[in-house]
Subunit: 106 residues, 2 copies
Amino acid sequence: MGAFATVSEKVAFSTEKMTKQNVFDSTHMFCDVYGLEPGQEQKAHAHAGSDKVYYVLEGTADVQIGDETRRLEVGGLAHAAPGVAHAVKNPGPARVRLLVFMSPKP
Amino acid sequence: MGAFATVSEKVAFSTEKMTKQNVFDSTHMFCDVYGLEPGQEQKAHAHAGSDKVYYVLEGTADVQIGDETRRLEVGGLAHAAPGVAHAVKNPGPARVRLLVFMSPKP
């Protein structure tokens, strides 16, 4: 991306599955924008040595961190520490866009 | 913060200087919200071993990365690789709020 990116222009959706668009990728971290149509999800998983962050750019998302699931609106953030299971689902009816960070890269 | 935070409620400003509110702090990264009144800035500096990210939540910010300065609106993101000088200034007239990540913690 170079040093600058316009996250608000990173808009992509697919009826097949959740989309991921890379924003930047560096030695210590990477940053993606996810796009989820209603009903689409990223299933629960964990990264043994990495932190993961979801930040809601658009829509309403059900985010699971460990044993807890919360419904997040725009401006909501969730952080999964290393080894902690995390998942996200779009309950609809609107589309969801998320800004996602992981560090370090797994 | 626990695993969840509401970044949209992290609103703080000071006439003295730019504010920083921590959102979360983990082994590999930390996340703050900065608040800048018109004219306030974070002067150019670099972190030898860490990546730094500014994401514009509110307002218009002049962000310098290395030798380049760009005016970013809401949804704009800037990434400073390790060792690269970076700075941010609020040119006004509106307030600026930024979501800021650093990894690893310096």
